[in-house]
Symmetry: C2
């Protein structure tokens, strides 16, 4: 089983290193046969190859069984023709990764959350974000005195990601909340009618619709009312980052980007945080959680669950990086997780 | 001084009634000479005139010195050719109300906030949202299997609202945070470069830029770091609703929509909440806060400040509607505010 590893920029390499070390240990212990190759991606690829997604990296990803990504970006590349983030948008599109799954759980009764414990505790939400359509991929025009971005969706783009959300809801609490701005946008109306249509095939799943402004409020005031949130690309970007705070740190969360058939891409939802890159203080939990999602997706038995349990046990034991008020280092935290795996 | 009152739908009429009664009392006490006329708008106007913004209402608003609006919308009008919200978009455009000001303050050390008190307390943020451009007003196309919405901005649209934000920052903490998604959108890049340009005329104001996803997180985790948030129409919609929760109830907040020269429009930021319409339990604080902003804008001395103080004193005295855990009625709360004005 071949894993293409794209460490990327900022804290990307150090958090990815810990995740790979965990995978390597699990693979040896359980004979999973994981094999890793590393490739340039993002800002570092701009520096070395002149573009954020070099053809060699793309080719390696296409051949891989799964892709583990760190993070990309940084002010250093602000002046470049193509920025590191363009690589991210391109790889999602090239691999057809249309469904981005971002699970949020509140550990420890929400003690790390900026929300009051009685508001946050017990929340367990999965954001299913459409990842290869919408305003991210419509025509962008930038003139001297005028600019425009086009947001488009086809029925088919909505249908395929809606199926992902409904299927996920079946193995969870059986509820999908579709989020849009249907009182203003035409694409949102197409989302609503298409999702209503798809819902008929899932009579066991409850569906409701919410405007994005109301949803931004509700995820903070009553997060427990949500199960699966299904939404378009831009709203999903905003809402999943927002949701990450209810767990206490964006450093805790992983994500999976899946398409139809090809390799999935697994990455923490945090950014590259260049200001702390290389300091060995970043939280590798998001990268490790992403690795666990990858093991699930590769159908490697309970390996994903085992890794997730080791991660949670480590956090609950008090070993924590500075973003959670602790003083563990990135490498120290990773080693502690591996101690539990052994 | 002529105030056009548009009560609208759901709880709109009952909260507006309390605000008007407060204004009436203040006007009598201080000889402000306020005069009110009421007009159909929103769903109620669809029922009576077949459209959400009838010409007679628009004409009355254009002649008025200021407009006090309740709220519009409700599922009842879902099937209509033009929905109640279309009236809102149309009146903003017709009157050229390009700057929407939404102040958020945390009263009482944040005791009503879902955020921990130590996170919320002391926050004081003004959202300046562009209100007549962006994806709200670009071409909307809805086909059978495809839909699109166009987001456009001109330099001039950005400049005029940026001036509003920088001027506001001068009389506050002197900081503007401009929010966009410049790593993806062309319009966001035009926003960034235009705002950077305008900032040169305000060397006493500090400017920074933030991506909308990062901003959604930061307003919850460290709200005190913000002073003025300047952003485009859709991001402003989401962020200002989100921000409203840090104060504890969306029912507390008012807003002002201003253009160049003509009458301003003042409305609570909450919606029409049809499920509780007519029950006399809605919080009229947002409508009263909007009325206070209107008095400020009409340059009626300290009348706005006096109304705001009476409102805050009433809230702090323990007279509260159910959204804040109290049992005051809408009309009872309004009467309590008027008692303090006397
Ligand atoms: C870096 C950026 C383009 C990206 C996005 O908006 O998709 C990121 O915020 C994310 O959520 O993965
Ligand atoms: C009702 C809707 C069209 C409106 C908007 O999005 O502008 C509302 O949410 C608001 O914020 O005033």
């Amino acid at each position: 089983i071949h894993i293409a590893v794209l460490p990327g920029d900022g804290i990307g390499p150090e958090v990815t290193r810990e995740a790979v070390a965990c995978l390597d240990l699990l693979s040896a212990e359980r004979g999973l046969g994981l094999r890793f190759t590393e490739h340039d991606f993002g800002g570092v690829a701009i520096d070395r190859h002149g573009e954020p997604l070099p053809p060699s990296t793309l080719a390696a990803c296409k051949k891989a069984d799964a892709i583990l990504l760190g993070a990309v970006g940084g002010d250093r590349w602000n002046g470049c023709a193509e920025r590191p983030e363009a690589g991210l948008l391109k790889i999602r599109q090239e691999l057809g990764l249309y469904a981005n799954l971002r699970p949020v759980e509140v550990l420890q009764g929400g003690q790390w959350s900026p929300l009051r414990s009685e508001v946050a505790s017990g929340s367990d939400i999965l954001v299913v974000r459409e990842l290869t359509g919408g305003i991210y991929y419509g025509e962008h025009r930038l003139g001297e005195d005028q600019a425009s971005d086009l947001c488009t969706y086809t029925r088919e783009q909505i249908e395929r990601v809606a199926h992902v959300a409904f299927r996920a809801a079946r193995s969870r609490k059986g509820k999908v909340t579709q989020v849009d701005k249907a009182n203003v946008l035409a694409t949102s109306r197409l989302w609503r009618s298409t999702v209503d249509e798809i819902a008929k095939a899932y009579p066991d799943v409850a569906l409701d619709h919410l405007y994005v402004d109301a949803c931004a409020m509700a995820v903070i005031t009553e997060p427990r009312r949500f199960d699966v949130i299904l939404t378009e690309n831009l709203f999903g970007d905003i809402l999943s980052d927002l949701l990450s705070v209810i767990g206490g740190s964006i450093g805790l969360l992983g994500s999976a980007s899946l398409g139809s058939g090809g390799p999935g891409l697994f990455e923490p939802i945090h950014g590259s945080a260049p200001q702390i890159g290389g300091l060995d203080i970043a939280n590798p939990s998001g990268a490790i959680a992403s690795a666990a999602m990858m093991l699930d997706e590769l159908s490697l038995g309970d390996a994903g669950a085992v890794l997730r349990e080791a991660l949670e046990a480590t956090l609950l034991s008090g070993c924590r990086t500075p973003d959670l008020g602790g003083d563990a280092s990135t490498s120290g935290f990773g080693a502690a997780v591996r101690d539990r795996l052994e």
